[in-house]
């Protein structure tokens, strides 16, 4: 039985400097800070254009205390493969090579490189922080934007298409470790990153990351909103490895219990204002069906 990390046992060492350019209440701030605690010093990061590029700092100051290479938007998976190849060539195999990209850089423009890296079995950890739109450029729709969400490129009526299930696409590559996590459950994320770096081969963690300006809620509710996504069963915390599939943390605790209605989640954010009653009802049915399949 794995020992779960608790707030009291979570390491104090910080790998991100304060005073960075992330928004107040940024979900990524929590995700990044927590993930880096799990990774530690012997890590090289690969980061494409995204909110993280900005959080990490504008030249010549870096908010991150770890070595990092910024790369072009489409190339994250390939660049991480390149870093790993170099580490093998230099006989520095123990270094964690970690790609840290947004949803656009992972599931849209970055999907080719990610797929290639997974298919080749590259020994990298790929963390996708999913704030469900191109937030860095001002809230444009991405493949992982949920259905009905209002963005600057899906104004008024909201996005007609459904959210792209990127973890499922990655799972089809049969990689040794795949997980979902949330900014609202940092200890679960921490444990998953710690576990992932002990495994050889491609590892993928998809982190649900609430964004106050992009999703339309007050900065103090970042954790509440993230929690609500899990408590309604819209976003599930799970992992999939050699031993099989399992729900974790709050999602695991939800099995056999009543989930909050999805409308409670939608009410917390301005971006869902275009959702009609029938759309909400359809989404509730889908969530119920999905959860029926978990048993």
């Amino acid at each position: 039985m794995e020992i779960k990390t608790r707030t009291l046992t979570l390491t104090e060492e910080e790998w991100v400097h304060p005073g960075n350019r992330a928004c107040a209440g940024c979900g990524l701030g929590i995700v990044y800070r927590t993930a880096l605690k799990a990774l530690g010093k012997n890590t090289i990061l690969v980061v494409p254009p995204s909110c993280l590029t900005v959080l990490q700092g504008l030249y010549p100051i870096a908010a991150t205390k770890l070595p990092c290479v910024n790369v072009t938007f489409a190339s994250t998976g390939a660049a991480a493969s390149g870093v790993r190849a170099a580490m093998r060539a230099l006989k520095k195999e123990k270094v964690n090579v970690v790609a840290f990209a947004g949803d656009g850089g992972t599931g849209d423009i970055g999907i080719q490189a990610l797929s290639g890296a997974c298919e080749r079995g590259e020994d990298i950890l790929y963390i996708c922080y999913d704030n469900e739109a191109y937030m860095n450029t001002g809230v444009q729709r991405s493949g992982t934007t949920p259905q009905g969400v209002v963005t600057t490129t899906t104004p008024i009526k909201g996005k007609p298409q459904v959210k792209k299930d990127v973890p499922a696409i990655v799972a089809a590559h049969r990689i040794p470790y795949l997980a979902t996590a949330s900014a609202a459950y940092p200890l679960d994320l921490y444990d998953k990153v710690r576990k992932a770096i002990t495994i050889k081969g491609p590892k993928y963690i998809h982190v649900h990351t609430p964004c106050p300006p992009g999703w339309g809620f007050d900065t103090r509710y970042t954790i509440k909103v993230g929690r609500m996504a899990v408590e309604t069963g819209l976003f599930d915390l799970y992992e999939k490895d050699a031993e099989g599939f399992r729900l974790t943390d709050a999602s695991l605790k939800l099995t056999g219990k009543e989930r909050k209605p999805v409308i409670d989640y939608f009410k917390t954010q301005g971006r869902f204002k275009s959702l009609s009653e029938s759309m909400v009802s359809d989404i509730q049915k889908e969530v119920d069906l999905k959860w029926a399949g978990y048993c």
Binding site: T7, P18, Y59
Partner: protein
């Protein structure tokens, strides 16, 4: 000719705080901890530290009591929202005008 003579200027950033300047200036409200309600403060024991856990900017220290770095705290309010004992309240930044003026001297 040697490599030292070339490529001296590249985009290479070094780690340091305050890339965004004194981000404390972003605040309209600041979190204030009531030490009579704060669990580690009133028990004198290492406990809770929820504010430290959830701070996106790592400006809360994991100490007894937790301390907030107001130079960089952006005033998001997550700590106030998540504190299980309701020990943190968001106060208007303007009430601290004297402190701010002292800092700016």
């Amino acid at each position: 000719m040697k490599n030292d003579d070339f490529g001296c200027m590249i985009s290479k950033s070094e780690p340091g705080p305050g890339d965004g300047g004194r981000t404390g200036s972003w605040r309209v409200q600041r979190p204030v901890i009531d030490l009579t309600k704060c669990i580690p403060a009133k028990t004198g024991k290492a406990a809770c530290f929820t504010c430290w856990l959830f701070c996106p900017d790592a400006v809360v220290s994991k100490t007894i009591p937790p301390k907030i770095d107001y130079v960089y705290c952006k005033g998001c309010g997550i700590c106030a929202e998540e504190c299980p004992s309701g020990a943190i309240s968001m106060e208007d930044e303007s009430s601290f005008i004297h402190d701010i003026m002292k800092e700016n001297k």
